[in-house]
Structures are given as C-alpha cells and as structure tokens.
C-alpha cells in the first residue's frame, strides 16, 4: 500500500472528491444549489469544485429551492445529470412538489420513457442547538414516498462510493448526509466517520446494507450518525459479555431487508436506532420487515431508540434528552433481557 492510499478523508471531502472525479469524466454532471460555489457548500461538500469547473457547472442559485430543484428535474430529463443541494432537509417544505411530484414521479408517469437522473443531496440531524427548523432528519418522510432512491452514508468511504453511484444512477437519488459526520470545524464531528478513502473512483451498490460489526446476541440496526452510537453501544455491551451485531443500512430505498433478516435470524434480538421521529418511520419499517417475514426468529420484543415525537427543542439539555445515544441503546438491550 502506498502512502497516499492510506489517506483518510472526512465525508465532506469524500463527497467533493466523488463529484470532482465524476465531473472530470462526465460533462453532463453539474452542481446547483445555495452557496455551493465560492463558499464550497455550508457543509463543505462542494469545496474546491468552483476553482476547477467554474460557475457554469458549479452554479450558485438564488434562495429559490422550488425553482432550482424543479430546474434540476428538467435538466435531468433533458440529458444532464444535475447534483442539487437542499441545504437543510428541513427546507423541503418550500420545494416538496418539485421533489415528490416531479422528480420522483415523472419516470412512472412516462411509463419509464423519461429518466430523471439527478442527485438531491441534503443535510440532516441536529445536536448543536440549531432549533426545530434546522435539525431534523426526516429519513422516513423521503423514504416513504415512492420513486426516489434514498441513501445515507455513515463514513467517508461509503460517502464517496455512494455519491459516485448516485450520479451514475438513471433514477433520482436523495443523498442524505448527517451534519455531525461531515468533518466541519464548526460542528462537532464523530471521528469514526473519517476513514480511509481510495483515491480512485469507485461505486457502492445502492440498496445494499453493511454489517458494520459482527455479533451473535443482538442486532442493532441504524444509519448515519446512529451507526457510530450503535458501535459504541456494542463495545459497552461487549464488556458485559454481550455480542452485538451492527447493521449500517446505508440505503433506505431500496431497503436491504435480507441482510437485516439474516442478522436477526442469527441473533434473535433487534434494536433499531433512528435519529428521525419515532412514529411512522424507519424504526417501525425495520421491525415490520422482520416480524412480518418470520416472527419466530425473535427471542424478545424488538426495541426502538428514536427521536420522540416532538419538534426539536433549542435548549441543549432538552435536545440532548431527546436524541438517541449510547446509554439509551444499552438500556434498550437491558430492558429486552429483563422482559
């Protein structure tokens, strides 16, 4: 292994590198969004691209999500491969028609004759007291509505491969990246997200989950930042003689139910960790995917560690009280044992 092949990147750098490499080989790729040019993106994932590709292909937009995400749909249908950034996923409310009625449905409405090969990248998550309009995850909201693939990396290696795969996909892909994994100086970052990233271009299969940690006694399923909490919880549980397996979903749509079911069939126990709201969301979907398939594999009732059904509070103590964390995961396992 050469020295350069050992380098580690943040997710932000990995995303930017994927876009850079794809733009070098595919002239139909361009980036559009708010502050993605000279600023390099509020979360750093377009940093350096303006210098290499110029303002025509690294296109700052006015604050007009409805128009530029709608425009990305039109450009995608006309042969381009736009990457559009919705700065905070919370902003979806001002532009959702362009997302779920146009981007997600035009392929279906055309009977497959029209392709919408675009990437909608958007930041998720809180934990830094940004209040209830800038801290949500909304994974379930996007995954619930058909016609868009939805991915969420937990580390830089996956981030690069997923971004390249998303840009090459002929269907729209919603690329949700967690702010606390980006590696931005002004945001506390989970160190585990900054990992070795190969310099060459590569893809990760969309729709394939990963076993992030092998185990025998309980399966902890999560995505994004939650994967890191799950791994830390698994390490704590190991101290108690419990062997926990951690599944990183990586993709929400398509959802790799087989990998989840195989793990739970092995461990017999299931905990889902989700920073999105508890009800009607990813946690319920994962549990249903297991129980409706074969409830007999379960040795205990499944548990959810998710955000309670309240808007995200501002005060640090209140927000931290609501967020999933390592202790809550360990407690969930303890209550499962006790039951």
């Amino acid at each position: 292994m050469t020295k350069s092949n050992e380098r580690k990147l943040t997710i932000a750098r990995a995303m930017a590198e994927a876009v850079q490499q794809e733009m070098q080989v595919d002239p139909s790729v361009f980036v559009m969004g708010e502050d993605i040019g000279a600023l390099g993106g509020v979360y750093g994932n377009t940093r350096g691209l303006l210098e290499e590709f110029g303002p025509e292909r690294i296109r700052d937009t006015p604050i007009s999500e409805t128009a530029f995400i709608g425009a990305a749909v039109g450009a995608a249908q006309d042969g381009m491969r736009p990457v559009a950034e919705l700065m905070f996923v919370d902003f979806f409310g001002v532009c959702f028609d362009a997302i779920y009625n146009l981007m997600a449905k035009n392929t279906y409405f055309s009977g497959g004759n029209v392709k919408v090969p675009m990437v909608l990248m958007t930041s998720t998550g809180g934990g830094y007291s940004d209040g209830g309009q800038h801290s949500q995850c909304l994974y379930g909201t996007f995954a619930h509505l058909p016609g868009m693939k939805v991915v969420c990396p937990s580390n830089a290696y996956d981030a690069k491969g997923l971004m390249t795969a998303a840009m090459r996909d002929d269907s729209p892909v919603v690329y949700m990246y967690h702010k606390s994994l980006q590696g931005m100086g002004w945001l506390a970052t989970e160190p585990g997200a900054t990992v070795h990233v190969p310099e060459e271009s590569y893809t990760l299969e969309i729709g394939k989950a990963k076993v992030a940690r092998q185990g025998e006694d309980v399966t902890i399923v999560s995505l994004g930042l939650g994967v890191h909490n799950a791994i830390k919880a698994a390490e704590q549980l190991e101290g108690q003689g419990v062997s926990a397996e951690v599944i990183d979903l990586v993709s929400l749509v398509p959802l790799d139910r087989d990998t989840i079911r195989a793990s739970v069939a092995k461990t017999g126990r299931l905990i889902v960790v989700d920073e999105d709201y508890m009800s009607y969301g990813v946690s319920g979907e994962i549990i249903a995917s297991v129980t409706e398939h074969d409830i007999s594999v379960l040795k205990a009732a499944p548990k959810r560690v998710a955000y309670p059904d309240v808007p995200i509070p501002f005060a640090r103590v209140m927000e931290q009280f609501c967020l999933p964390n390592v202790d809550k995961i360990v407690t969930a396992f303890d209550s499962m044992k006790a039951a």
């Binding site: 007009s64 128009a67 709608g70 039109g74 450009a75 392929t107 409405f109 055309s110």
Partner: protein, 328 residues
Amino acid sequence: MAPTRDEQHWMYRNMVTSRKFEETIASIYFEGKTPVFSMADGPIPGEMHLSDGQEPVAVGVCAHLNADDIVTATHRPHHQAIAKGVDLDKMAAEIFGKATGLSGGRGGHMHLFDADVNFACSGIIAQGMGPAVGAALSRKMQNKPGVAVAFLGEGAVNQGAWHEAMNLAATWNLPFVCIIEDNDWGISVSKEDSTAIANNADRAAAYGIPGKRVADNDPYAIYEAAGEAIARARAGEGPSLIEIETYRLAGHFMGDAEGYRPEGEKDALFAKDPIPKMRGKMIADGVATEAELDAIEAESAARVKAAIKFARESADPAPEDALTAVFA
C-alpha cells in the same frame, strides 16, 4: 410576422383536431357515470379538464416549435399536446387508461409525457415552470439548440414556483418562454378576485424581461408574439413572458355546473369561438377555400375517430404492471 399559408393550414388543422378530440371525449365521458355522477366509472375515469376555446394559444405558439423543443403543459393539456405533436393514438389510450397509452395508463390525462416530442405535464399549478427552465438551462449548458416553453393558466402566476422560476430564467438568460393562458377563471374564482394586476405580462418588468399581452384569443396575434419571443430565445437573448387572453368554453372540469359564471358570459364566449372566426378569415383572405377547410375538418374528424377507436379497443394494462417503471 404573419403565418404562411401552410402554417395557417397547420394551425387550423390542429385547432380543429383539438376541438374534435375534446368534443368526442365529452360525448364519451359521462358513459357509465350517470344517473348519479360517479367520477370513477365509465371508459374515461377520473377528472377531465377540457380546453375548448383555448386552441389558438397552443397552435400560435407551437407553430414555431419542433419536436426537439421542450414544452411543459398544464392540467388542461390536450390542445397543447396535440399542437406539440404528441402521438394522438397513444394520448387517447392514456386518457382511457389503456396499456397502449403514453405511459401504459400510469399517468392519465393530467400527466401526459411524450419523450419523442419533449412534452410533459404536471397536474400541480405552476409546477411545469421549474422543469421547463431546467430544460432551457440544459440546452444552454450543452450548447444545444432548442427552446423551452412553459404553458400556464393565469392563476399559476400567483404561485411562488412561477416567480422563482421566472427569476432563475431571467438571471441565467435562458432560452425560455412563459405562456400564460388567461381564461379569466381559476376553477371558480375570477382573475380579478385573485390578483390586483390586470395584465400579468406587466410582471415581466419585475424580472427585467420583455412582457406582452395578446388580446382577443387571436391566433394570428398569438403567432406573431410567440414568434418574436421564441426567435429571441433561440438567438440567446433570454426569456420572455406572454399573456394571452383566451376563453374557456367548458367548465373547469367535466361535471362543473359553472354557477360562478356571470349571466350571459358563456353565450358571449361562444359568439367569439375562435375556430369559425379563423375559418372565416382564412376564406376571406384567400388563404383557403371552403372545400380545403372542409377537407381539413373531415381529416381531423377521421384522425380523432381513429384515435378514440384505438383507445377504446386497446386492452387494459395488466394490473400488476402498476408495480413497474417506478425507477429508470
């Protein structure tokens, strides 16, 4: 700029085809839906928005377009689709929800897509704007010819999507033309109850682009205004806004009792029906003979009849095909 003889024949043919198509749809629509109106029943299920009276807008604009140019249409799309060259058989079959339809029955009459002629619709007011502006951006970035035209009703101009997209098109100087079909009614609410501005073309000033209002549903004036705007767009001189005074001879949707219309309005509108008017003008101008226009009408009627026959006789989609074509 006036339409040539051939262009006038083309315009008349497409107006008549659209009208005959709508008349046929209207004659079939209530089959199975009465005596108690049930929207789901009959050979044409769902809502139906007819465009009778608005044909001059579609032909006056589309006379300047070819298959490579892009059109995004409204929830009232049939006249626009026909003028843009959407396959009439497949379009009819789509409206009937048949396997042979444009999307195999997945879209329906408000969601017609024909990739062969770059035609798309949205059933959501003003939401064709973003995709049209994006297609115009795509052409500019790829240095490929073509303009994008978004058709909208006057009610759409009060939507945020419209303003955002106009701003984007103007800021980026895109080959884009916005056509407002002002039929005076947003379902049952009049234009004057919806906006304080009488002439939506004046809104162009807010975006630093040319705006023009065309009066009286006149296909010749529409042709001229659209021709200038489209030529401007093709020349790289940026977007334009045109508002066209037109008339909706039918209700908002089939089954609409139109109780909101002032007394006598409909009679006055029918008296201004643009199709007989154009017919009279073409003959008076010596552009066509009675016999030629009769022949065009007969050919259009036959064309529509064949399309409706194709639609009626086509098979329903396999129900399980509903589960396909979600992704590319």
